[in-house]
């Protein structure tokens, strides 16, 4: 086991298997010693950052170079607002000229995202759902995620909220919340007729819910809106979405026919699946937005 064994002796003992431990030990210990090196290297970056003038100058320089390259690209691009630009091709034309006939929506954007390119939009509502689940996982209070200081702070907030110090603000918010929610519902229901749709309307409803919760305290909100309601509404809406789209993708791809009646363009009950889908998206978004707010403030819905 001396250090100065020849290579062949060590190989032989390695094959025999009797001195593996010593060699492995040596290996590990040399590697242990080397391990400090990358840490010191990483510190130099921090030292660079602490030297703030140099660091700032470097940041600005990199930004300027990046922007210069990108501006060079922009110079080449088609002119802004040019009707002959390549983006105004047959794809957009069909959306505009046959959109009403094929989707029934007079808001061409709604027709495009909820019918022609509905797969993207399906992915998009899933992103939202994943985000609210991720935030739930992060902020919902469990045994790995509690601290006494935070409890105390929240108790103080509650006392502060229950005082009537912001009476005018609270009364105002109470009056305003229903109006905001109503406007949101209008935007959702008219998604296929006017600007807006599930997403924007849903965020407006969500903002209304946040206002209501801020004015009346989360306790009152919890009487009718808990985490259970949130997940149930979201899951039900997404499942409806999933079902509707599976139906139309399946029938469309297999040329089955059985199309959904489109109704009279311009009427509120028209354009096939677009209205129910807008309602689903709107509900999911409203729940999500309120869920974010509640989890951020209290760590629970």
């Amino acid at each position: 086991m001396s250090e100065n064994k020849s290579f062949w002796q060590r190989l032989k003992s390695w094959i025999d298997g009797d001195e593996i431990l010593i060699d492995a030990d040596k290996y590990i210990s040399t590697r242990e010693r080397k391990e400090r090196v990358p840490m010191e290297k990483a510190v130099t970056m921090e030292r660079l950052r602490s030297n703030s003038t140099l660091y700032r100058v470097l940041c600005v320089a990199i930004t300027v170079v990046f922007i210069a390259v990108m501006l060079r690209v922009v110079v080449d691009l088609p002119m802004f607002g040019d009707p002959g630009s390549i983006t105004n091709n047959e794809v957009g034309q069909r959306y505009l000229e046959q959109g009403i006939e094929e989707t029934g929506a007079i808001n061409f954007v709604a027709g495009m995202i909820l019918d022609y390119r509905a797969f993207d939009t399906f992915g998009e509502s899933n992103v939202l759902f994943m985000a609210v689940i991720a935030v739930l996982m992060l902020l919902q209070r469990d045994k790995k995620n509690i601290s006494a200081a935070e409890d105390q702070e929240m108790a103080e907030d509650e006392v502060f909220d229950s005082q009537d110090s912001k009476l005018i603000l609270k009364k105002g918010a109470k009056c305003l919340a229903p109006v905001v929610i109503l406007y949101g519902i209008y935007v959702v229901l008219n998604g296929h007729l006017s600007p807006g749709g599930g997403f924007s309307g849903g965020s407006i409803i969500g903002a209304g819910l946040i206002l209501y919760s801020a004015a009346n305290g989360q306790k009152k909100m919890q009487t009718f809106f808990t985490i259970k309601t949130l997940t149930r509404i979201s899951v039900a809406c997404l499942l409806t979405y999933c079902g509707c789209k599976s139906y139309s993708f399946f029938t469309g791809a297999n040329h089955v026919g059985w199309e959904i009646p489109k109704g009279t363009p311009g009427a509120i009950l028209s354009s096939g699946f677009i209205l129910p889908l807008n309602i689903c998206v709107g509900l999911v978004v409203a729940c999500t937005m309120y869920g974010f707010y509640a989890l951020f403030t209290k760590g629970e819905v």
Binding site: L77, I86, R117, A134, V235
Partner: protein
């Protein structure tokens, strides 16, 4: 292209929607075990269906597009299915199933019970998003599912709930956001100069631009933006710094999924873009291939150098992933079909091997009561022989010993390099040799360490840890899959070749 579709052709669409459906419905299941069963059933079903699809498309030698909705190509979304895509779907299902089967004990141990079902939502979403990225024929759909994958994979990292895991997630998320931001900017400029979003139409547009020479600089920047974006997301060498922090801080099961599959999903998208949008020739003409080649070679060497310096096993495996991603980008950067083939095979070999290594590493750390320094893992293989054997197999495969998967991909890289001349040939062969030596330098000591009985507490250390039957099953299957890739690789290569040919035919 009017195709008569039968039920088998609906499998890709069904797979994506069923995976997302299971993800959506899981919050209603409060019990983590039930959620795990649903997940396992879903992956098995989709895996089986993908095998059926694979057999069907290879026998008929066909590739088809599947309309997502009532509207054909430039107007509606589409999926594209060919032998290569079906094979990738099978790979994703197999690796997902085996990793979760082998690593589910750790999931139930590390995550608080009320949040276990949330973890499986994220797993289902990850699976669905990876399938969608494999099958998609639309660049914007690709972007949306990249974002789903970003959020879902970050949640897989933070699920452990410790503060280190949160730091790791933040680091990973910042890099992920940079990557997807650059990718999105690339997509936007590409839309601005071709006016299309579906792969075949963009391909026509790009071909026209290359022929006329218009927007040459813009096209170069677009391609670099998109590949740098995907490179950042798949931890290509200079952008890898988030990887060790993230993998070092989280559960090995999550690391196995992330390293084995999620990184590969971005690479799959990069390979699809190379074949179906830009073509290999365009990449070579725009000099992007050279850049990828150089970064890949650097990654191969530097990743291994970092790994040699590392004494914690999880971080060592993370750096090893950086090196292996370097191999894949080097293969793409060779700018030849043979190079792409080698890169594709390496995606398979690395996915299978690295997830196995992470699952074994998890079992070792578990037996050592959570300590992950290499010295604490001494004798780990005696406590858990099956994991020890699997780890050894994985290490040998990583080094590139014949009979195992890693050898075949290195063989194909070398073959692809022999088509090249001059500097490239030398560089590839040198990088392969150096990287193999470095791989041996960090994998062999860990193998030796885990098979070494510690002297001081000779009896306590050799005590057998209890292994669940599911873990044993997963290990055996992992080893079998590795050997299948290492010995019976011919049919797989043939399917890949067929897939690549079919993609190139449909210009």
């Amino acid at each position: 292209m009017e195709h008569h579709l039968n039920l088998v052709h609906n499998i890709p669409f069904f797979s994506i929607f069923f995976a997302m459906f299971c993800g959506i419905i899981t919050p209603l299941i409060k019990n983590g075990r039930t959620a795990r069963r649903l997940h396992g059933f879903m992956v098995l079903l989709i895996g089986a269906l993908s095998v059926v699809l694979l057999v069907n498309v290879t026998q008929n030698g066909e590739a088809y597009t599947f309309m997502m909705g009532h509207f054909p190509a430039p107007w509606g979304n589409e999926l594209r299915v060919g032998p290569l895509e079906a094979l990738l779907a099978v790979l994703v299902s197999v690796v997902m199933f085996l990793t979760i089967t082998g690593g589910s004990d750790i999931i139930f141990k590390e995550i608080v019970p009320e949040k276990q079902n949330l973890y499986f939502i994220m797993l289902n979403a990850t699976f669905g998003a990876m399938l969608a990225m494999t099958y998609t024929n639309d660049i914007f759909t690709g972007y949306v599912f990249i974002e789903i994958l970003t959020i879902a994979s970050c949640t897989l990292i933070l699920a452990k709930g410790t503060k280190q895991a949160i730091v790791g997630t933040t680091h990973y998320l910042v890099f992920g956001c940079m990557g997807s931001g650059l990718f999105l900017l690339g997509v936007c400029i590409l839309y601005g100069i071709t006016g299309q979003l579906l792969f075949p139409q963009i391909k026509e547009g790009v071909a026209a631009l290359m022929a006329t020479g218009n927007y040459h600089f813009a096209l170069m920047i677009v391609v670099s933006l998109m590949f740098v974006g995907l490179g950042i997301k798949s931890a290509l060498f200079p952008f890898h710094s988030a990887l060790p922090t993230a993998y070092g801080s989280t559960m090995t099961t999550s690391s196995g999924i992330l390293s084995g599959l999620v990184l590969k999903a971005y690479i799959i998208l990069a390979i699809k873009l190379t074949f179906e949008v830009f073509t290999v020739q365009t990449l070579v003409e725009l000099k992007i291939a050279d850049v990828m080649f150089v970064l890949g070679v650097f990654g191969m060497v530097m990743g291994s150098v970092y790994a040699v310096r590392e004494s914690r096993m999880k971080r060592m495996l993370a750096y090893s992933s950086v090196a292996q991603i370097g191999y894949i980008f080097m293969g793409i950067g060779l700018g030849s079909v043979a190079g792409m083939l080698a890169a594709c095979f390496h995606v398979f070999a690395h996915a299978v091997t690295k997830s196995m290594l992470f699952v074994c590493c998890g079992a070792f750390i578990e037996d050592a009561n959570g300590k992950e320094q290499l010295e604490n893992l001494k004798g780990a293989a005696h406590r858990n022989p099956l994991a020890g054997i699997a780890f050894t197999v994985g290490a040998l495969s990583m080094i590139g010993v014949p009979l195992f998967a890693g050898f075949i991909s290195k063989l194909y890289f070398a073959t692809a390099a022999l088509e090249m001349t001059g500097l490239r040939l030398v560089l590839v062969l040198a990088a392969l040799a150096i990287s193999m030596i470095l791989n041996a330098m960090y994998f062999l000591p860990s193998v030796i360490a885990i098979w070494t009985r510690p002297k001081e507490d000779g009896e306590g250390a050799s005590k057998r840890a209890q292994t669940s039957p599911t873990f044993a099953l997963a290990m055996v299957l992992f080893i079998v899959v590795n050997l299948v890739l290492g010995i019976g690789y011919r049919p797989i290569i043939d399917v890949m070749k067929q897939g690549i040919e079919l993609i190139q035919m449909t210009l």
